[in-house]
Assembly symmetry: C2
Homo-oligomer: 367 residues x 2
Amino acid sequence: MARSMHVRRPATLASLAAELGVSRTTVSNAYNRPDQLSPELRRRVLETARRLGYPGPDPVARSLRTRKAGAVGLLLTENLSYAFRDPAAIGFLEGLALACEDAGTGLLLVPANPEREDVAAVHRAGVDGFVVYSVPDDDPHLAAVLERPVPTVVCDQPDLGNVDRVGIDDQAAMNSLARHLISLGHRRIGVVCMRLARDRNDGYVTPERQRSAHFHVQRSRLAGLADAFTEVGVDWAAVPVVERFDHNIASGAAAAAQVLDRDPQITALICTSDILALGALGEARRRGLNVPHDLTVTGFDGIREAEAAGLTTVRQPVLEKGRAAGKLLLDSAERTRPRSVLLSTELVIGTTAASPRGVVEERWFGP
Amino acid sequence: MARSMHVRRPATLASLAAELGVSRTTVSNAYNRPDQLSPELRRRVLETARRLGYPGPDPVARSLRTRKAGAVGLLLTENLSYAFRDPAAIGFLEGLALACEDAGTGLLLVPANPEREDVAAVHRAGVDGFVVYSVPDDDPHLAAVLERPVPTVVCDQPDLGNVDRVGIDDQAAMNSLARHLISLGHRRIGVVCMRLARDRNDGYVTPERQRSAHFHVQRSRLAGLADAFTEVGVDWAAVPVVERFDHNIASGAAAAAQVLDRDPQITALICTSDILALGALGEARRRGLNVPHDLTVTGFDGIREAEAAGLTTVRQPVLEKGRAAGKLLLDSAERTRPRSVLLSTELVIGTTAASPRGVVEERWFGP
DNA sequence: AATTGGTTCTGAACCGTTACGGTCACTTCA
DNA sequence: TGAAGTGACCGTAACGGTTCAGAACCAATT
């Protein structure tokens, strides 16, 4: 009943002022600056507001005048809903939400459907700034964000030179994981990676596609691997690298199967994410391969599920990334040059990596 | 460089129009209704816009004029970041995001800190509607939402009579779980529940507090239990019910310990959420109790982790709940009476519930 | 009596759009 | 040839606030 009255409601700050016989300014002050009017008048204003069903100053109008929206926008590469399925993305979101919460700011999830190139949602977003999380560097949504006259922080993106940035050194992190495997004796490896560009390419990846990958994170991780293995004489161009568009355990399993079918002699399967690695583990089990002795499997991210599985991986502080991004954005106080936050990672030695059988034998029976 | 020009940008639709010598309307049409002007003029407008660094119509001003924000607000009972830690909440979010995505609408996470009673964030939110998820029914944020003149959908809330609603029949669902345990022979039970009100009360719950609980979901589940057990002659007032404010596995373990310490003779520990139940399972293991033979443990929600643990529980369609809430809100097309969506639940028979030892013995050696 | 200072309240400008209802020149058609 | 369309563009009036420089008033000080 009370609510149905609200449905079409003419009450506005002006009408309230008229009703009370005071100026709009006074009504505004009643809400925003209680010290600017007598307590008695303020009481009257608020009471009349209640009587007329006036819900207080309209947020949009206020935003227009004050030029603050009280919210930051988040642009994700994937469907909005995907973010809630990927543990790493969830961690990032949690951190970002934490930062927003601290600042009393809202967090607007912008519906940027990667399929249609509909950038309108970016234009429609009434926000004070944007956080962009892991989108391909040629994403039109990203371009649209950069054209908006608001501060922006990118995460897991290449250095754009003129925008705040937070991330990790993916290349170095993956490089150190590679060195670990190399030290264990692995030379014949296969790689399973997430998608490298906006187009779907479920299968083998050419070196050219690796170099020109539009996802900075994936490109860097592959580069880290290539560097390490090239250094010990492995012909990177001959290393099988398979890509999967969809990021889930089934994809990881399918990709692992594809590699193992064509190159059964590999001793290690390096995956660029834990999710893919969990799929690879499943596939190995299905084939009766003993991990790590028949096959080493590694991941990247350090999600909880990976820990439970004992995965050898690289842990990155996903929550911290989100929080850092939020903080950076929210205290964009007259900074001049763009800032860059690089968080550290940690190599997690699990139980899914070991020396390949051949190497062990070498040690025992070698020269 | 190009970006630094944007920092203080005077370019507006009006200034663009002036520069071009056309009316503001025409510039507006260039963006919003290409058919209303000649392609040639439109091209000129857009080009001049680029030259002047005009980023297109200001979203906030547009929202004010059109009276749509292009976003829906989500109000959660907990800290924003908490939502990303609770699997059930994540599922709800995913469903809601799905619905928003379909409609091309943004999703604004409103920072409603449950500690301070700062309702301002609700007032500041520029949204076309609200979804309210599982907040105490006396939450001031909820009251603030209901005063806003926008459509609202509540989820896991009591029927407010004048607002759209989606949920499940918590009472019936828990009742059926209780009957299952009763049929197994359980009569001496303990209960672990989530928090019942806004104040922290880690410990035993009086029947009075149960009845007056401000979290509809918890109140209903307890009522479902009370009904079932009362019916078979159990004195509900004597059943130990312990409450925990924090919702995590450690809390569940601590609560279980509290019950088991005081009432070691109970044969079943009924938890009102899977998370708590997982904690209880851990505590039982720690005490060397064999689940289910020494102790039956049950949960509620049907999260993935529960399935992995073989928990006997009630599965509810959390994703569907989110999606239904979103849909309800987004097609608020001139409905008259409030709508209500009740989703169905499913009793999941796991491996954590069995007949108590006594009952088995009765069967074998009884009269 | 004039000045000062402090409250309390007001007027008008401004925020950047879009909706609405035109005008005007130029076909088209009977 | 006159009436009725049609396409391209424009003027005005909101949309609902906030802000800032005063005005009006009163009490206290010089």
